[in-house]
Symmetry: C2
Subunit: 344 residues, 2 copies
DNA sequence: ACCGTAGCGGAAAGCGCTTGCGAGATGACC
DNA sequence: GGTCATCTCGCAAGCGCTTTCCGCTACGGT
């Protein structure tokens, strides 16, 4: 190998080259007081000349605690989580924090493993985004891990409803589901299908509950099809809806990503949206406005949710878990209209 | 504060509780040889009972090197980078690596700062995704930082063309640009506008060069409008194209995200796509097929690019930088057609 | 000119873990 | 039954940095 492996300069090298002690060098570089400005400048200049990069592990070990936070999402490429991540990264950058990112792949086991890795890395805080699970067993293990982390000085914030007694940002899922349903009802729809994600996710349970309550209160017929929280899942669920209840006049997809799948199936099936079938989504991901037709949806402040979660972990810990509720907004676009027999 | 801050159990606690020495406990938990299976099981059981989580910093310090890799992207919420990130995370998970993610915000200065932070954290490898800069000064600083990192034992891989002598995954930008242009030419377009990102990015330069070369060789008129690499940038550039050259028959957007902005402006302007104006994008981000109309584009294997980059860093270092070129594929969809005077 | 005070710099003790080396124990072989 | 090879385990020395505790210097006050 022609690669010359040169040892990284250490603080001691900087100190020696600058003609000062370790303590002085450390203080100078950390910008701590107790060193004259002149001296500090000198040390910094020497460090720069040597290409010194402090060893964050040594620093973390000696001072106890690194400036790293952990982020766990279901899937980074899902626009919902991408937006949340962006919010988290923005706040992290503002505070000089580094972000260790993880995907849980929507698997409770994987999620648990990721949390442990984060703990091992002594991150200062963990932001767990994505839905909780309706399975009490999985939630209990996660809760134990997270509580242990907090008890050893870590900070935790969740995005979404989990059965864990820690700070959380709660998206307005139930009310959002109700709002979406009401929109369809007001347009005159009475045969509505819900294209839902996996029943074991609390996000799905909440949105569905809000929608179903509203719809049945109005005496509408409701069918629900569960599938993956993905474009393909949305497509598959929609195909089943079409087969099972061809007279459905409106589709309520519990995420925009699923709505995208729904729209594609409807397009292929030659069912005009919204003329024959209305479609409403959830989240308002960035592309929702650019779909064909533009998607009516319930907007959640995704990036802010991520930002708020990280900010929660930065505040002084509270004795009782804090809950921050978000708002939601119906964004009416071209994908919803009155059912055709009314329009006619 | 009612939060009971309990100290994290240390390896010494586990060793004592298990009745073994530190060395044995360490080896047992690391799964290293030199410890009988019986003993190792016992130690692991005790560790689990105590809720022991090894301190990754101490481990990194003692063993020199953490199992963390750094990833720098321009913007996590941009679908292009989200896909690359997914590829990186997949490979990282397969190898038990943690990923420290960073956004450079398309700022050379920020990018540099992020690389330094990654270095400070003694990551084993850095994957730098996103375009290089045509500004030689910025590239030089980045190169210095990256080369220094490599010389001190770090591994680096880039995605995209940078003026840095390290391993890289090179997307087929130039040829892809040519392919997109040829598609338009074959349809009969002769007045083409390129909706381009910032000129200082090598990605833009390469795609544009490939397209322009092909177009001018065919004697087509070409206008280029630069703007941000975003939906809004694409919209603004398109608006300018419309004002400057109303007789343009085809738009070549250098990324799908910009194409989305272009489509929205065209829709608002009442210009039918592809009847009046054809639009072709670049990347084939997941939603490209679901736009209105479905976007013709040049597909790049984004997730694989991320995966390949990380895998490059995992291989034994080579004396000379390795370059992996990707393929590209034209994905014809509904947004392109022959210009109207031909169709008529 | 003397003493008090403040402020700066140096020595050293860890932070929690890995690991090379050597001691002790165990079994094999003659 | 003795000797040697083979394992298993423990000791102790760091990894690079922070931080406390002191001692020293250089001032200003009187």
């Amino acid at each position: 190998m022609s690669l010359t492996e040169r040892p990284t300069p250490r603080l001691a090298d900087v100190a020696r080259a600058a003609g000062v002690s370790l303590a002085t060098a450390s203080r100078a570089l950390a910008g701590r007081e107790g060193v004259s400005a002149r001296m500090a400048d000198h040390v910094r200049a020497v460090a720069a000349r040597l290409g010194y990069v402090p060893n964050a592990h040594a620093r973390a070990l000696a001072s106890g605690g690194a400036s790293i936070v952990g982020l766990v999402v279901h899937d980074v490429a899902d626009p919902y989580f991408a937006e949340i991540s962006r919010g988290v990264l923005r706040v992290a950058a503002e505070h000089g924090l580094l972000v260790l990112i993880n995907q849980s792949e929507r698997e409770p086991g994987t999620e648990l493993a990721r949390i442990r890795e984060l703990r091992a890395n002594r991150v200062g805080a963990i932001v767990l985004a994505g839905s909780g699970y309706t399975d009490a067993g999985a939630e209990r293990q996660k809760a134990a891990e997270l509580v242990a982390f907090r008890e050893t000085g870590g900070r935790v914030a969740l995005v979404g409803r989990h059965h864990v007694p820690v700070d959380a940002v709660l998206p307005d899922n139930r009310a959002g589901g109700a709002t979406a349903a009401r929109h369809l009802l007001e347009l005159g729809h009475r045969r509505v299908a819900v294209v839902a994600g996996p029943a074991r996710l609390t996000t799905v349970a909440d949105r569905l509950e809000g929608a179903a309550a509203e719809l049945s209160a109005a005496g509408a017929e409701v069918v629900v099809e569960h599938d993956d929280f993905s474009r393909e899942g949305g497509a598959a669920a929609t195909a089943r809806v079409l087969a099972r209840r061809p007279d459905t006049t409106a589709l309520l997809a519990l995420t925009d990503v699923m709505a995208i799948g729904a729209l594609s199936v409807l397009r292929e099936a030659g069912r005009a949206v919204p003329a024959e079938l209305s479609v409403v989504g959830f989240d308002d991901i960035p592309v929702a406005a650019d779909l064909a037709p533009a998607l009516t949806t319930v907007r959640l402040p995704m990036a802010e949710m991520g930002a708020m979660a990280l900010e929660l972990t930065l505040r002084t810990p509270a004795a009782r878990p804090r809950r921050k509720r978000t708002t939601h907004t119906l964004i009416p676009r071209a994908s919803t209209a009155a059912p055709s027999h009314l329009g006619a």
